[in-house]
Amino acid sequence: MDTIVVNHIAKYFGETQAVKDVSFHVRPGEIFGLLGPNGSGKTTSIRVILDIYQPDKGNVTILDGPMTEEKLNSIGYLPEERGLYQDVELTRNLTYLATLKNMTKEEVEQKLPTWLERFDLSEHQKKKTKELSKGMQQKAQLIAALIHEPEIIIIDEPFSALDPVNTQLVKDLLIELRNQGKTIIMSTHQMNQVEKLCDRLVLIDDGTVLLEGSLKEIQEQFATNQVLIQSDSDLPENLPGVERIEQEGLYYRLTPSDGYMPYAILQELIDQKISLNSFEIAKPTLDEIFIKVVKEGRNGNEEDN
């Protein structure tokens, strides 16, 4: 049974159609990437999932049924627009938001110190939110989304205000939560994080789904047989079986000629006694796939129009 099924939802705002036709499903215990450029309909889709907006068409199934108050309690949400009471001290802020997720005050008092410790916020717990840095506020917001141990976690741009140390902290936490069997939907523009964390993803633009699947499936789908090599030697201008050689920093990207496979290029490099530090099949990055798919999608739409 899928944890979340989004079934052909559409959402209008007056004349504007924010979501035209979005469908995807999220499996239990996976990190699911919800990707798309700005204004593509991601936030609206999330709000439909959370029952903030009613869809004009289609429906959403959460844990095998419609949204209920009880299910809301089992969802942790980190919205794109962060929100904490600015004039209220951190502990009180988090206690209040946690009680709204049906925790008792005693439960919060028991669990909050561990969370504050983990996010290095213990010594700031008596400070007002406005006295905390942006990164600290973001970590506090994450605590608010997670302290009630939700089954489903929906996080919008979780790394946006974090330094590399805290980014790693949050990544480790997300992996840990996935290992505990929690289902996570993550919306972000940071494709490198998606590559490292997400099991599956959906890419939407202009309110429609452009791509859905596991990272491996998608990368294979867009693979080009290019190889990446690292070498201390200079490469000859022409290599048999290689159509194009491009230097990318320390790497060379080699595009095979028609009919040539990567292993044939490797054989050629060995034959020419070129020293190799590394040789790998170049998978397209998610960034590249993202740009390619969005561009193609938009060109297709223009042609349709």
């Binding site: 959402k11 209008y12 705002f13 007056g14 504007t16 924010a18 700005n38 204004g39 593509s40 309909g41 991601k42 936030t43 609206t44 709000r47 959370l50 029952d51 903030i52 907006y53 108050e69 809301l72 309690n73 969802i75 949400y77 919205p79 794109e80 627009e81 962060r82 929100g83 904490l84 009471y85 600015q86 209220v88 209040y96 938001l97 009680t99 709204l100 997720k101 049906n102 608010a144």
Partner: protein
């Protein structure tokens, strides 16, 4: 229910725990007392209580002015001293022993004119005391029986045509409770409505709202906020009522009308219940404003409009007194935002049929349902519209979007 209580508790503590709440709370009665004290002090300082002399050339004054045994701080008394001749009175005036002197000439009974000698105008109190001295002495000569009682005037008893309402006084004290209800209602809408509006718009501005409405339904959130702010209002009122009660208790001997106040349980229950219901309607409307506004400043200017209907009965006060069952008092009783003061005021002066009271309550309850339904829509559509103001018609035709 737990979430409603959690929200209400948070709202209540959030406001009541603030120092500025208590400064405002105690500042109002203290400020009022300070103004009262200053006005008394200024009156006292500007009051000239030096004696006034009189020369009775007409031989009218057989009974001199009665000097009270005890003169209180606020009592106005100017002693009138008899003088045999103008010269000695003039000397005392020039020496500052008198503020002036009056000559009652021979033939006063035909001219009814006296001359007051002084370098400054006589105060109204001086004029009143001189007139009283002359009048009382002239009436004494007429040998009128029960003179004192006649001067005191008649005791007028009032009774409604159907005999259901009666009063043994002039009735002014009966407006005490309705006015108190009107003032309390005004304060509730003004201050608690303001708190509610501020809380909603702030949650919108600081983006907490999106978390709130993914934890509970919009109506739960709204009810919690209204209950919490109502609690803040009642705390305010309770403190003021206690201060007022202490004041009335201390000065009860000087406020004889207190015994005549209509504090019957039925009357008080209807007035207070209507006060709470009307505040809920106002709070619902304020929530709609809060949901559609994007800054606190915008909301506050619109909130001023919410306060105006609470004051409507004040503008038609005379109509309420002269014709409590007239068309305007009736309309204002049915209008949800002016009902508490209007109905309470009418009930003080006339008997209202039960069906009319029930209708007023029914309209309040229907209004609450309507306002809650509308504010539920406003919450869903307006609370996530961070950057621009939502128009009221948008609640019916479109939803807000952030992409």
């Amino acid at each position: 229910m737990k979430k409603i209580i959690d929200v209400a508790r948070y709202e209540y503590i959030h406001h009541v725990a603030k120092r500025r709440f208590w400064i405002a709370l105690l500042g109002m009665p203290l400020g009022f007392l300070l103004i009262m004290a200053l006005s008394v002090l200024f009156s006292y300082l500007s009051f000239d209580n030096e004696p006034v002399g009189y020369i009775d050339q007409a031989n009218l004054i057989t009974q001199p002015q009665e000097v009270p045994e005890k003169i209180g701080f606020t009592d106005i008394f100017i002693q009138l001293l008899p003088y045999s001749d103008e010269d000695s009175a003039r000397t005392d005036t020039e020496n500052g022993k008198l503020q002036g002197f009056v000559v009652i000439p021979v033939g006063y009974q035909s001219t009814y004119s006296v001359t007051y000698f002084s370098n400054k105008q006589p105060s109204s109190d001086v004029v009143r005391q001189i007139n009283r001295l002359i009048r009382e002495n002239m009436l004494l000569q007429e040998q009128i029986p029960h003179l004192e009682r006649i001067e005191a005037g008649s005791q007028i008893s009032l009774q409604s045509l159907d005999g259901s309402q009666s009063s043994d006084g002039t009735g002014w004290h009966r407006i005490f409770v309705p006015i108190l209800i009107g003032i309390l209602y005004f304060i509730l809408v003004m201050s608690c409505g303001g708190y509610l509006l501020q809380s909603l718009v702030e949650e919108k501005q600081n983006r907490t709202m999106e978390i709130m409405i993914t934890s509970m339904t919009p109506n739960q959130l709204m009810i919690g906020k209204i209950v919490g702010n109502l609690g803040v209002g009642f705390t305010q009122i309770l403190v003021w009522v206690v201060i007022l009660a202490i004041g009335l208790l201390v000065f009860r001997d000087r406020l004889p009308f207190l015994g005549d106040l209509n504090l019957s349980p039925g009357y008080m229950a209807i007035s207070l219940a209507l006060l709470v219901l009307a505040f809920i309607v106002s709070a619902g409307l304020i929530s709609i404003i809060g949901a559609t506004m994007s800054t606190v400043e915008e909301g506050q200017s619109v909130n001023g409009l919410m306060v105006m209907p609470t004051m409507l009965p004040f503008y038609f006060f005379q109509t309420f007194l002269t014709n409590p069952n007239g068309i305007i008092p009736r309309i204002l009783s049915y209008f949800p935002l002016s009902a508490p003061f209007s109905l309470s005021l009418r009930m003080a002066f006339t008997k209202i049929p039960a069906w009319e009271i029930i209708s007023v309550f029914a309209i309040q309850i229907i209004s609450i349902a309507l306002v809650f339904w509308l504010s539920g829509k406003a919450f869903r559509r307006g609370l996530l519209e961070y950057s621009k103001k939502l128009k009221l018609r948008d609640l019916f035709v479109k939803e807000a979007s952030n992409g």
